[in-house]
């Protein structure tokens, strides 16, 4: 009796496997796709090749003056010779170690958050929210513990951007949560005033808020009381971003089913414990992407302070490129500044994606 013996299966046709198969499926599946692929290739060649040429191949990297730049490409010495200015602004050079210590502390708090198994991660996060701001204020301002006082007018560059973003983020979230709770409150006075506050700040551009903070705030305050320019900008940014944060948080609150409130009441929890223990942990988790998006917007919006005369990264670059000793270095300056912002914003958006995936517990079927 003949035994049926299966022959080994033939490999799939050559054109459907390996790089060729992949290209046929993803790049050349139809005449339209062939055309699109061609357009894409042309676009890349037309944009990327000159950019690499300019930024790397024909660029000048060494030297300290404009005369060093003889090639047709980028003149990077413009950035390297002024790196200190772009990072510290006018912060007095002998005191810059204080800024470096702050940068190190920031890294110490932030980096472990990306590594889930890092020991003491939570403690570091709590320290980042509560202890670090105080420590940063002491370090940067000085005036106590033998540190010389450095007025905020001398702050600048990347350091100023990070201070603005950090304070803004730390303040906007709690204020936004309170506003969102107020907007959903049953008390008419509270609800109406929170709603008005939120809609007002969301309806006007940030630049007019900053103008208001710098022109009108001195008029609002009693005579003799005056705020530092940096503090005025910060107040403007916090008011503005907390209104956006409030709307994000409200979205989360609305998504929590009524049963959760009722169950909390049935357990005898009062308003604050219902919110703090039951509702907010769920609501905030739902809107993490929105919260991080608000943080990213805040980070980008810090650039607007240059309009009221503070020199953040963009402001210091803008101040440096008009230097007549260097000509035509605007692109180099903007590329550097853009890279600074991009690294932080892109990092935050990736982190939020990862967090979103990690926290997605039990809602998926």
């Amino acid at each position: 009796m003949a035994v049926f013996e299966a022959k080994p299966a033939l490999p799939p046709p050559v054109l459907t496997r390996g790089p060729v198969g992949w290209a046929r499926q993803n790049l050349l599946s139809s005449p339209l796709n062939v055309g699109l692929t061609l357009v894409g290739v042309v676009l890349i060649v037309a944009l990327v090749v000159p950019a690499v040429d300019w930024a790397l191949l024909n660029a000048t990297f060494r030297g300290t003056t404009a005369d060093a730049c003889t090639g047709t490409g980028a003149c990077w010495p413009f950035v390297t010779t002024r790196l200190d200015f772009f990072v510290y602004g006018f912060y007095p050079p002998p005191e810059r170690w204080r800024v470096n210590v702050l940068f190190a502390l920031l890294a110490l708090v932030i980096v472990p958050q990306l590594l889930p198994r890092f020991p003491g991660r939570r403690a570091l996060a709590v320290f980042g929210f509560l202890g670090l701001p105080v420590l940063a204020a002491v370090l940067l301002l000085g005036g106590i513990a033998g540190l010389p006082f450095v007025e905020t007018g001398k702050w600048g560059g990347l350091m100023l951007t990070l201070v603005l973003a950090m304070v803004g983020i730390l303040a906007a979230l709690p204020v936004g949560v309170v506003l969102a709770l107020g907007r959903r409150s049953k008390m008419v006075v509270v609800r109406v005033s929170c709603t008005t506050f939120i809609e007002f700040w969301r309806g006007v551009p940030l630049i007019s808020v900053l103008f208001m903070a710098s022109v009108m705030l001195p008029l609002f305050l009693p005579e003799g009381v005056n705020f530092d320019k940096l503090l005025r900008a910060l107040i403007g940014i916090i008011m503005f971003q907390s209104a956006y944060m409030a709307e994000v948080v409200r979205g989360g609150l609305q998504a929590i089913p009524r049963g959760q409130f009722e169950a909390a009441h049935a357990l005898g929890l009062g308003y604050w414990r219902t919110m703090g223990l039951i509702i907010l942990p769920q609501a905030l988790k739902l809107v993490i992407p929105g919260i991080v998006n608000t943080f990213i917007a805040l980070f980008k919006d810090t650039t607007l302070v240059l309009i009221i005369g503070l020199l953040d990264v963009l402001g210091s670059v803008q101040a440096a490129i008009v230097d007549p000793a260097w000509n035509r270095v605007a692109v180099e300056g903007y590329v550097f500044a853009g890279l600074c912002y991009w690294v932080f914003c892109f990092g935050m958006s990736r982190y939020s994606h990862a967090l979103e995936r990690k926290l997605q517990t039990g809602h998926k079927r």
Binding site: N26, L27, S29, N33, L36, T37, G40, V41, L43, I44, K186, M187, V188, V189, V190, S193, E199, F200, R202, G203, V204, P205, L206, I207, S208, F211, M212, V215, M216, P218, L219, F220, L221, P222, E223, I296, K300, D301, T303, L304, L306, I307, L314, Q318, I321, R328, A330, V331, Y334, A337, G338, Y341, W342, C345, F346, S349
Partner: protein, 411 residues
């Protein structure tokens, strides 16, 4: 028919009723434990704080203004401004009033907002669809574009286009020519200006007539389809009508439209329409930046339509084109429109960054120069904010109305 008699179980008297004791009134809680008292007290306290706060602000402002000798009131709007404005859509010179500068600034803001909205929508939809393309290269390019532009501050991009690109262009004599009709140099973009010749009004009239006709046609077609089930190619006919009729009139009248092309005379271009570099830079930056957000909105909207909808449509025998038009797009638009509107609002508010490069928008002209000259901060900042607030509230009211009209009507 007799009503059925329910047998009464033995042992229970037929006329038994349950008598309920009246509920004892709940003991009144102590005043500081009564939710109502607490709520009222808290609200009164809040209201008192707000009144005190605003009264203090008001009082301080009046005192400060009196000390600094700042005038109050809106009389300044009728005073002569005495400064020139780079660009104006309505006739303006420096003998006109501050009120006029307000209008000039507002119109410039609206102009750049409309341009930005049009271009960002076009780019945004194209990139959003490209992002969903099955072509790997195309979707990757769209992704890189979105992730790069979105994560760089808008102000930096405006500076880049203005200071690094447009201001470093060659002068008028070495202009970049785009097909010998438009010219780009460091003084701006020169494009041909359309000149209406006599008879062009008829073309406009034909366009309006065709538009009305197309709307009537669409109504008739819908009614007929509801009554008889017979479809009518409304879109193609309507488009043909709206484009074809004016074109026919235009050609029949012998093309009564001339173009005045810019030409180099002496040191500069004469004729044509000049778009100042500030406007070009601002429009470019705003459109490219907002387009990345719109692209994400569009992508999210299309992905939000569940795959079952497409499958059900093909099960009903609809072709892919019809599926897209009748099933996917209407549902996707429901998701897309609200965030799209808020992107438009952001664009309008972001157009105020114009002041950083000197484009004469509302903030630059009115809250900048006029404020510096008159010193009437409260009135001017108030008016400027009121304009933006009005635009925002009007658009969000419209969006709420649209939302409630489009929302899923369940049960």
């Amino acid at each position: 028919m007799d009503a059925p008699v329910t047998p009464v179980p033995p042992g229970i008297p037929e006329s038994s009723t349950v008598s309920l004791k009246p509920a004892a009134p709940a003991p009144r809680p102590l005043p500081w434990n009564d939710p109502r008292t607490r709520s009222i007290t808290f609200q009164v306290l809040t209201a008192a704080f707000l009144v005190w706060f605003f009264w203090t602000l008001f009082d301080n402002t009046l005192t400060n203004m009196a000390h600094r000798g700042i005038a109050t009131g809106f009389d300044f709007l009728d005073r002569t401004a005495g400064f020139g404005i780079l660009m104006s859509l309505i006739p303006y010179d420096d003998t006109m009033t501050y009120g006029r500068t307000f209008v000039v600034g507002l119109l410039n803001t609206l102009l750049v907002s409309v341009l930005g909205i049009v271009f960002s929508t076009l780019i945004g939809f194209a990139v959003g669809i490209a992002r969903l393309s099955r072509n790997w290269l195309v979707s990757r390019i769209a992704l890189v574009y979105i992730e790069t532009i979105r994560n760089i501050p808008l102000l930096l991009q405006i500076f880049f286009w203005y200071f690094a690109v447009l201001r470093t262009l060659p002068g008028p004599r070495q202009s970049l020519s785009l097909g010998e009709a438009a010219f780009l140099n460091n003084r701006g973009l020169y494009v041909p200006a359309p000149l209406a010749e006599p008879g062009f009004d008829w073309v406009g009239l034909a366009f309006v007539g065709a538009l009305i006709g197309a709307i009537g046609l669409a109504r008739w077609a819908r009614r007929r389809q509801q009554a008889t089930g017979q479809p009518f190619p409304t879109l193609a006919t309507g488009l043909g009508l709206v484009i074809g009729l004016p074109l026919l009139v235009f050609l029949a009248l012998g093309a009564p439209l001339g173009f005045e092309t810019p030409a180099l005379r002496g040191f500069n271009f004469q004729g044509g329409l000049r778009l100042i570099p500030e406007l070009v830079a601002l429009t470019l930056a705003l459109s490219l930046y907002t387009a990345t957000f719109i692209a994400e909105v569009v992508r999210g909207g299309i992905l939000a339509v569940s795959h079952g909808q497409t499958e059900a449509a093909s099960a009903l025998g609809l072709r892919p084109g019809l599926t897209l038009r009748l099933i996917v797009l209407p549902q996707a638009m429901r998701v897309i429109i609200p965030p799209l509107t808020s992107q438009y609002l952001n664009l309008i508010k972001n157009s105020s960054l114009a002041t950083a490069i000197g484009y004469p928008d509302l903030v630059a002209v009115f809250m900048g120069t006029s404020l510096n000259q008159t010193g009437q901060a409260v009135e001017i900042v108030g008016m400027t904010m009121a304009v933006y607030l009005f635009i925002s509230l009007a658009i969000s009211l419209g969006m709420n109305w649209y939302n409630s009209a489009m929302a899923l009507k369940e049960r």
